[in-house]
Amino acid sequence: MTVLWFRGDAPRAHSKGCFLNGRLDMSLANDIQEVGRVIDTLEEFGAAQGISPGEALRFGLVLDELITNIVSYGLVGRPDGVITLSIEHDEGRLRAELADNGPPFDPLTAEPTEPSGDVADRAIGGLGLKIVKNVLDRLDYRRADGVNRITMEMKLKAA
């Protein structure tokens, strides 16, 4: 596996993310299997931060959908593709930034819809983004310095 590091990122060799002061940083390979590791790690992070398991999983769902779009569309055919993920917890909010080194790709507009087919086929079309928008309070995409960056925020429900 080839791993490229973004400018300013120090290489970290670990299988799980490390989380200090309410922050979690991970570097992900361009592989759909990484989604399972992200959610496992987010569950641990949430437990360490006193976030309810349900709320941690809701945020994990958003990351699942967005990482899936990046791996399935933006970074397709890019063995050198790397995704970095940073998550922060503070003041009752979870924030995350997803960055990747692929070609310009806005996952907020890139998910194909399936206008044909039966009612269930149509329900599936664009569903990932619908789920993402249902959960998040903020979502932004920008392209700068050859990197795609998605930032997002979710207010935690009071326990």
Partner: protein, 113 residues
């Protein structure tokens, strides 16, 4: 044999996925469910009691399983969804499309109609 927890109740196949159906394991669910539908009953209930999480990739494989069951003369419905799973089923409209039942027994009865 499939790793997906399941049982046969009367003339129905009850699939009982646990923890999560996410992008990384949706394919495994699809393969297991497909083999079970080929080999067993075509009336399928997805019992979501033990499921904490489902993504759009998970709904996609529920849909392919439903199509397979329907093509074989059966059908698929969902029972006992909780919390996040219930929310995703509502956002997608899958709760109305496939039906969401409070018990496995009610789900099986709805398929028999």
């Amino acid at each position: 044999m499939a790793n997906l927890p399941h049982e046969t109740l009367g003339n129905a196949l009850v699939l009982k996925p646990s923890r999560r159906i996410d992008s990384s394991n949706a394919k495994a669910f699809e393969d297991d469910a497909s083999a079970l539908v080929d080999a067993g009953p075509k009336l399928v209930v997805v019992d979501a009691s033990d499921l904490d999480y489902i993504s759009s990739a998970g709904l996609r494989v529920i849909l392919t399983t439903a199509k397979k069951a329907k093509a074989a003369g059966g059908g698929l419905t969902i029972a006992c969804a909780r919390n996040n799973v219930k929310e995703v089923l509502a956002v997608s409209g899958f709760d109305n499309i496939f039906g969401l039942h409070a018990s496995v027994e009610a789900a099986i009865a709805s398929l028999g109609k």
